[in-house]
């Protein structure tokens, strides 16, 4: 099992959800975050001067998926979150060693 963390534009959530649903991926957790990438946000001009608006609002999507689904999910998020402009976001995959379901108490994965 892997954990996918994707940081996307707020306004793309709808598209991403739809695209994932179509592929059968429903479960997810979403968090409001503030972020900046290498570009350090957006530079606005005013009267000769300029200010940098870093730390723009983004959404973080977290999904725990089976190893074999990682690529599909990554691909799907990438494609549906894209606008082609700076600030579209990133996706990272982290390993998961165990998981459990609260309602049933089932646990799966290796035990230490």
């Amino acid at each position: 099992m892997m954990k996918i963390e994707a940081i996307i534009r707020e306004e793309r959530l709808g598209h991403v959800k739809t695209a994932l649903e179509e592929k059968g991926f429903v479960a997810m957790t979403v968090t409001r975050v503030l972020g900046r990438g290498e570009q350090k946000g957006i530079r606005l001009q005013y009267r000769g001067g300029s200010i940098e608006v870093d730390m723009l609002p983004k959404l973080k999507i977290e999904m725990f998926v089976r190893d074999e689904d990682v690529e599909t999910v990554m691909r799907t998020i990438c494609d549906s979150a894209r606008t082609g402009r700076f600030g579209d976001g990133r996706i990272f995959v982290l390993p998961v060693v165990m998981s459990g379901k609260v309602r049933t108490g089932e646990v799966e994965g290796m035990m230490q």
């Binding site: 306004e11 793309r12 606005l44």
Partner: protein, 402 residues
């Protein structure tokens, strides 16, 4: 006539109530935009009252209420507040001229504030300032003159108790024109631009309902039976509008709270021109129909993909139009000596149609021209990046919520 303390107290408190409507509009609109533009949205209203206040005492009042020139515009007799003093004015014989001037000032202010619906989340501040000053001078002042100060519409016998044409038709149809010029917000067609704070919008609506008592009952200009009647029909129409829109949205899906308060505003708008002429039961009908009509106008507006963002057109424009006509339908001579269609006077109804259409046309055309003018010279819109970041940071350098 001499100055009466009761009437003066009433017109002053009415002016204060109407003043509160301007930030009321700001909150109503501010709650409906995204959190990245709420400061901007409220600021446009505060700016509207600030600009209108200054324009009005310098020239606006004189253009609107100065001695009539050919039925078109007022003369310069009251410019810079000359001849506007503590004794009675020409149009209200029991209150100080200054109080009457002030009461009219807050109408000009709130009208400008309503207009900001059209430019939400995307206008350049400097262009807003220029457009506002132009608009209030070129559109509002003449319209006020035509209807309330011996202008040609008054001459036709058209009735507008508290501003159905001058305030609501004019701001609503102007908003439509300006929205066409400035264009849709980025993302309008691709994702939902959700209201960020509905309780804030509801507070705004509540302040509007409250302030509207000054708007309509204050327009009686005296504290007597006519004011009381206007007060009652105002409240009745608001309530009917609220219930009607609530039920309307319920039929289509879920009973919308935002719909309910929008319906109250629709009811208030529609009763505005009629407030001094109709009875309570008519007000019930006027308000209920306004709720349904403005709701339909909103659905239509959304349907055709027009981003007149906060529905000044659907609520104030369409509601004001209906109110102007309704005055011609329901005017009851038992209330105020004027009879409408159902009391056997089709002439009144015709006069209302003419006045309403003239206002629609004048407001729409002039606003379209002014907006194009400002767009061609200063540019109406902020840049794409500024719009994306949100006007609060991009324009004001401020963040609403830490």
């Amino acid at each position: 006539m001499a100055i009466d303390a009761g009437d003066t107290a009433w017109i002053m408190i009415s002016a204060a109530l109407v003043m509160l409507m301007t930030p009321g509009v700001g909150l109503f609109y501010g709650g409906l935009v995204r959190s990245k533009s709420v400061i901007s949205m409220i600021s446009l209203s505060i700016l509207a009252i600030s600009l209108a206040s200054i324009q009005w005492v310098l020239v606006g009042y004189s253009l609107a209420f100065g001695s009539d020139i050919l039925g078109i515009i007022g003369g310069l007799d009251f410019i810079l507040m000359r001849n506007v003093g503590m004794s009675e004015g020409p149009l209200a014989g029991t209150v100080p001229h200054l109080a009457y001037m002030m009461f009219q000032l807050v109408f000009a202010a709130v009208t400008l504030a309503i207009l900001t619906s059209a430019v939400a989340e995307r206008i350049k501040l400097s262009s807003f300032i220029v457009l506002s000053l132009l608009w209030t001078t070129v559109v509002y002042d003449p319209l006020a003159h035509w209807v309330w100060a011996g202008g040609w519409l008054a001459g036709l016998g058209a009735l507008d108790f508290a501003g159905g044409t001058v305030v609501h038709i004019s701001s609503g149809f102007s908003a439509l024109a300006i929205a066409l010029v400035i264009g849709k917000r980025a993302g309008f067609d691709t994702y939902v631009l959700e209201p960020h704070n509905i309780p804030m919008a509801m507070i705004g609506a509540a302040l509007l309902w409250f302030g509207w008592f000054g708007f309509n009952a204050g327009s009686a200009l005296t504290a007597g039976g006519l004011a009381a009647s206007a007060f009652v029909v105002t409240n009745t129409s608001a309530a009917a509008g609220a219930i009607a829109w609530l039920l309307g949205s319920w039929v289509r899906g879920k009973p919308s709270a935002l719909g309910m308060v929008s319906g109250a505003i629709a009811g208030l708008v529609a009763i505005t021109p009629a407030a001094g002429y109709v009875d309570t039961i008519s007000a019930l009908l006027i308000g209920a129909f306004a709720g349904l009509l403005c709701y339909s106008a909103l659905l239509f507006r959304v349907g055709v993909g027009l981003d007149e963002s906060l529905d000044a057109w659907a609520v104030h424009g369409v509601g004001g139009l209906w109110g102007a006509l309704a005055t011609g339908i329901f005017a009851n001579p038992a209330v105020n000596s004027y009879a409408g269609l159902i009391h056997g006077n089709p002439g009144q109804f015709t006069a209302q149609i003419v006045a309403a259409l003239a206002s629609v046309a004048y407001a729409f055309v002039m606003s379209y021209v002014l907006a194009r003018l400002v767009d061609a010279t200063l540019g109406l819109r902020v840049t794409e990046d500024e719009e994306y970041v949100g006007l609060d940071i991009a324009v004001h350098g401020e963040k609403a919520y830490a």
